[in-house]
Structures are given as structure tokens and as C-alpha cells.
Subunit: 109 residues, 2 copies
């Protein structure tokens, strides 16, 4: 269940800013920190959390280190949310169509 750590990671505003900055493409740490109101070590710590959550991957390029979004982490989060979406919609539909039973599972796809 890696989506739990992913959600925890994306909860912090600064960390979201870091992550959204990476959306445009691979960026070194210093560049990210330059566009944010926090220090560079803070960005390093945020990247550490995002990496542990499987949301970003890094690559050493000379003295620098490029960070990029890891599509796999995003995919996991999407999968969890989609599963949630389907079940919630089924429950909602059953609720609207007259309420036979609170917890009733029709069909799942």
C-alpha cells in the first residue's frame, strides 16, 4: 500500500509545490529551491519524502542531481482513487434509486 505514503507526502503545500515544479521535467535541487521561499536543505528533505513515497526518482548528473516525477507512483495513486470512485458511485447510485439496504453491493467492474 504505497498510496498511503504518497498521500502523506502530497499533503504538505511546500512539497506539493516541489512536486508540481517537477511536472514540467527533470530539475536539479538548487533550481527548485530558487523558486521557493524555503532553504535548499528543506527542498532536499521534501524530495527525500517524495522519493520514499515512490513519487519521484533521481539521477546523478555530474555534481548535480536531477529529480523527476515517477509515473509509477502517480499510477498507484490513480488506481486507488479510481477504485474508490467506482465503489462510491455504486453506493451513491443505490442510495438514489430508493434505499433498499445501506451496504449492498450490486456489481463491481
Amino acid at each position: 500500500m504505497a498510496y498511503t505514503s504518497a498521500l502523506t507526502a502530497l499533503a504538505d503545500p511546500t512539497r506539493r509545490a516541489v512536486f508540481e515544479r517537477l511536472r514540467r521535467g527533470p530539475v536539479p535541487v538548487g533550481v527548485i529551491a530558487a523558486g521557493l521561499p524555503v532553504s535548499r536543505p528543506a527542498v532536499s528533505q521534501h524530495l527525500r519524502v517524495l522519493k520514499d513515497a515512490g513519487l519521484v526518482c533521481d539521477e546523478a548528473v555530474g555534481a548535480r542531481r536531477l529529480y523527476a516525477v515517477d509515473p509509477r507512483g502517480v499510477a498507484e495513486l490513480r488506481a486507488w482513487l479510481d477504485r474508490f470512485w467506482d465503489q462510491a458511485l455504486d453506493a451513491f447510485k443505490a442510495e438514489v434509486e430508493g434505499k433498499p439496504q445501506p451496504t449492498k453491493r450490486k456489481k463491481s467492474r
Copy 2:
């Protein structure tokens, strides 16, 4: 930007447990608290946060109050994640095509 509060809300493990309990259908507060290792007021506070984030909606039924998942909140989160997914994939593709060996990574699925 309601997805920010949604992500913040889903970061807490207990709050995720509350939310996932609601996935099966509308449930009163007491039932949720009975299945969790926290007190009932704690669950109330969590539901408050989830409601403010647009993830759940409530309905008074007699002395009880039923909470259910609000599909709209889930949809917003999905939209944000999908937009992220597309841009991340584009950046990843451009990175692969542009440079010979940008990042050594396999395709997951």
C-alpha cells in the same frame, strides 16, 4: 483549488480509515467510531475536515446523522491527478526521445 484541502484531509491514517469506511455506503458517526481505536468526538472532528474538503456529505436522519462519500470531491482529486499524469508522461516521453540515456527505468504497466 479544492484538491489541496482534499489531499490534506486524506493524509491522516485515521481519517483515511473513516473515509474508506464510508466507501461502502452511508454510516452514522457512532458506527464508524465503534470500528476504530479512537473516541467518537475524534471521528466527528475527522468528518468535519472531510466535509470541509468536499469529500463527504452529511444528512440528518432523526437523532442520527448519516455521512456518505461526496463523488464531487473525489472527481476533483481525480481531475488534478489526471492532469498531472498527462503532463508527467509528456515530459517523460520528451526526455526519453531527446536524450540517449536520461534515466534508466523500465515501463511498469
